[in-house]
Every structure is written in C-alpha cells, then in structure tokens.
Subunit: 279 residues, 2 copies
DNA sequence: TATAATAATGACTAACCAGTCAATTGTCAA
DNA sequence: TTGACAATTGACTGGTTAGTCATTATTATA
C-alpha cells in the first residue's frame, strides 16, 4: 500500500472520530508513524487530503449506484438501490461520518463545489430511477419523491452511523421497508411541492461541469497506469473517439463495458457513459 | 437588551455563517463593539456561549411545539405541527443553521448530552402526536412513522436553510404536502422496521433526566426575576406543590396555565407539565 | 466633590497549528 | 566502498487561539 493510501486510511479514522478541523497534521502523522514532513510529500495541503478522500469514496459510490440503477431488472431496482446505499454506508462508516459532518460545515470552496457536484449527480441517478420505475404517471410529483428518497437514506444512515450502541440492523428488512414507503408515496401522493423551478434554482449553485479536457486528462493518466491489455486498448480507443467521434455507438458501448469490470476504471467509465450520451 | 443577549445575537449570526469553531471570541467581541474581556463577564467560556444559545432556542422551540400538539384540535394537528416547525426554522434560520452544523460535529460532552436530551423530548412529542392522530391502529409502525416525520422536517428544512438562492417557499403548501405524505404512510405502511427495542437502545445515550432539584432551582430563579403578581404567585405555589404535593390536579393545571402566557415561563411550564404527570 | 464599588479594557500568556526547509538518513549503481 | 540521488526528518516560522488579569474608566453613593 502506498504512503498516500496509508495516510488517507488513518486520517479518515481520525476525521470520523474528531472532525476535520479538530484533527491536526501532527496527529495524523503520529498515527501513521511518519514525520510531519513526509505528509507533505504525499499531499500539497490538509485541504487536498480531504478532497482526495471525498473524491475517492464518492467516485466509487456514484459509479456503483449508477451502474446498478442502469442494469438492475425492474423488480429488484428499488430494493437493490436502497440495499446498496445502506450497505455502502455501513461498510465505509468512517467515510459516512466524515461526509455528514463536513457536508454543511466546510468553508473550502473547492470542496463545497465538489460536494454540490456529487450531490447533483446523485439527484440525477435518483430521478432516472424514479422515471424508470414509475414512468409518466408520476411526473408531477417526481421531485417530491426524490426528496423523500433522499430523506429516507439520510435519516436511516444517521441512525446507524451515530449510534453509540452498535445496532446490528437488518439491512434486508430496512431496504424492504424503504421500498414499501417509496412505493406508497409514489402511488398516492397528489400534492406537488418541489417544482421543476425549485430544482433548477438549487442547481444554479453547481456551476461545475466535467469538461472534455478533464476526461481526456483522466484517460491519459489511466492509460499510463493500467497494465491489462484489453482495458488499456479500450481506453486508447475511447480517447480517440472523444477527440474525433470516429466509432459507432455499439463499439463505444462495448468498449465502456470492457472498463466496467476493472476496479480502477469505475469512475472513468461513469464519466464516459455521460460524455458519450449513453446509458 | 442585556450585554449577554447582544453577544448571543451577534455570535449566532457569525456561527451560522462560519461555524462555531471557525469563529473566534475576538471576532464576536469586535462585531459587538466590546472588548474581549467583557465577553468573559457574561460567559464563563466559549463553550458556555453555544450551550446558552442551544438552550435558549431549543427551550422555546420544544415548549411551543409541545403546547401546540397538546392543544390543537384534531383536524389541524398535523398541519399546525409542520407549519410551526417550518416557520420556526425560517424565522430563526441562523439558529437552524447552527443546529444542523453542530449536531454531528461537536466534541463537547455537555453540549452533546443537551442535544440528545432535546432530540429525545422532540421524539416524545412526535410520538404523542402520532398516537393522538392515529391511535391504536398504527402501533406497529408508529416508530417508523416517527422517523419519517423527522426525515421530512430535516430534509425540507435544509432545502431552504442552505440554499444560496433565497427560495421564498410557500410554507402553507409545503405543510399540506407533508401532511399528505404522513397520512399516506400512516395508512398504508405494513412493514415494521424501527422496533421498540431499537428506540430503547438509541435512548440509552440519553442518561440525563431533569431532576426535581433542577426544577426547584429554576423555579426559584424565575420567582426572583418575574414581576407579574399572578405569575409570581403561581410559581411560588407550584414550587411548594413540587416539594409537598399539597395541591389538587385541577389547581395545578390551572396554575400551569397561568404560566403559559408569560414569554419567560414557557420552558418551566413545559417541565412542570411533565413533572406533575399532566398533559 | 470625594470615595467606593462596579464595569470594561486590551496587552499578555501559553498553547496550538499549517506549512517549510536545511540537515540527515537510506538506497542503489558503479 | 564510494558517491550521487532520493526519501525522510523535525526544529522552526509566522500565525492564530482561548482565556487571564492588572489597569483604567464609569457609575453610584455619601
């Protein structure tokens, strides 16, 4: 494991326990058994460390949920959605705590923009899920349903993240319970409160869009890092396609599928699906 | 306005904007136009300031909601509940921000215990509301409904507290929308997830119970402060009753009603209602 | 007006922190 | 073994912080 990874792992533990601001670099480096100077060989600043943590976990989280929502069969869709989110929060409980603590607390502009961006991507996925599950019938209340789904995952995550008593909750039952609630609300809600307009206004905060150049840059990095021949060639071909749009949709879809299995290519494959207008 | 009140008001503004930890005493005193030393004439420490703020607003909030839930007529109960909470969050938006920011973030044990205590009181009120509104029919899913109600108020409060675009939301419509959702869930939910046991385990964290001596102490303080004759005599009689249990329920109820109108006696009247086993 | 009591000040202390960099240690090829 | 290069260290800098306290200003009283 690289020094960078060790620092991230140990720092996450401390951040979850004490919060970001209340944890000093000295504490982190002591906990890692390295010197203070060594920290700055891996990270430019303390802020860059938390950004790296947020990126690392959110990229995995978003691409996993997106992939699952787009491939799961209709019957299991909602259940799988909730179950995956809850399981992820349980597995990475330290990150969950960090995320909830820093969500409203941060003053760092770059981090704030990142959090808005990921939040926005999550909204998109939930909306896609709602449209797929309930179609046209629900169009008047779909944004309200989106907020309800977000409320549910938020509240119940806090329940087992911030409980000093370690509740060994039955995520299977919890997921079923949330599926039921969601379906009930989808079927019976008549009053629209969250309008298209409110959603648009909230989104104004998210200026950041992933640019073509950023995708190219990420691709080039991955092309250097990845050893596996098929994955590497897929990356090279996709980079060319982004620049020249020279491949047919079927080929592009296939190439992206090649990336999906490689654990280090989840995020780039998520971005490429967006950039190539595929789902 | 006393110096203490000025400090609390100005500090709240800064805390809402920058967070508690990122706001220095110097900043607060500069903003108040007083010296740093003067701060310590009003508050023993920085921590005591945030505790005073949390107490001040939560006491008002809890006693208002409780009073309303116990006096509102059945038809309007749920609507009034949501509307009051949302209006309160809008009116005291700075406090709302502070509360949400510090809820998960604090390391101060005294404050943590307070937050647990108020959270627990709020749970009690919501449960009372659910039992009054839906009675026995819902006993299997009442705790789940409680969590849903908390999710709704939480999510929608964040919506208008942390939106950089000032959304002038129609709280009337929003309350109606939440009432509808709550009723739908109450009527149709079949799966129980939050069991009595889970609620009890979560409550274990809240060791703190308001003790008889604390109520007596608070009563004595109020007796000194309050000028109004009727209010003052009511306080004196109630103090005697707490010590000697010498008054009939009707008299006690009446005396507590006397306190309800006095703005400085909301909290003591809430505590007395609990201590005298009245609702 | 004089005196006592109270309120307010702000320079000061001791502790902490992010980030730097000259000096030291470790590595590896010649 | 040597020397060149890279990795690592931790004392140090410049800055901030909560809280204190001797001094000063203000007010009330006689």
């Amino acid at each position: 494991m690289s020094k960078k990874q060790i620092i991230m792992e140990k720092a996450l533990e401390l951040f979850a326990k004490q919060g970001f601001e209340s944890t000093s670099i000295q504490q982190i480096t002591d906990y890692c058994g390295i010197s203070k100077g060594a920290f700055y060989l891996s990270f430019k600043s303390k802020d860059q460390l938390i950004i790296a943590l947020i990126d690392h976990f959110m990229e995995e989280f978003i691409s996993d949920i997106d992939h699952l929502v787009k491939t799961s069969n209709d019957d299991a869709l909602l259940y799988t959605f909730y179950h995956t989110i809850l399981q992820s929060f349980r597995k990475h409980s330290d990150f969950g705590k960090l995320l909830i603590k820093e969500q409203t607390h941060t003053l760092n502009d770059e981090l704030l923009e990142k959090l808005h961006y990921y939040n926005n991507e999550m909204d998109k996925i939930i909306l896609y899920l709602i449209e797929r599950q309930y179609g046209e019938e629900i169009k008047h209340t779909k944004y309200d349903l989106m907020y309800c789904i977000k409320s549910f995952t938020g509240m119940y995550s806090e329940l087992f993240l911030f409980n000093s008593v370690p509740l060994d909750l039955d995520l299977n039952l919890l997921s079923q319970s949330l599926v039921e609630k969601t379906s009930i609300l989808a079927t019976h809600t008549t009053i629209t409160f969250i309008s298209e307009e409110i959603v648009q206004l909230s989104k104004l905060q998210t200026k950041k869009e992933i640019k073509k150049e950023e995708i190219i840059h990420l691709l080039e990095q991955k092309i250097e890092d990845i050893k596996d021949a098929i994955t590497k060639e897929s990356l090279i071909l996709l980079k060319q396609h982004i620049l020249e749009r020279n491949l047919s949709p079927a080929i592009v879809t296939g190439l992206i599928k090649n990336l999906q299995n490689h654990p280090d290519c989840k995020w780039i494959s998520y971005l490429l699906r967006g950039a190539c207008h595929l789902s």
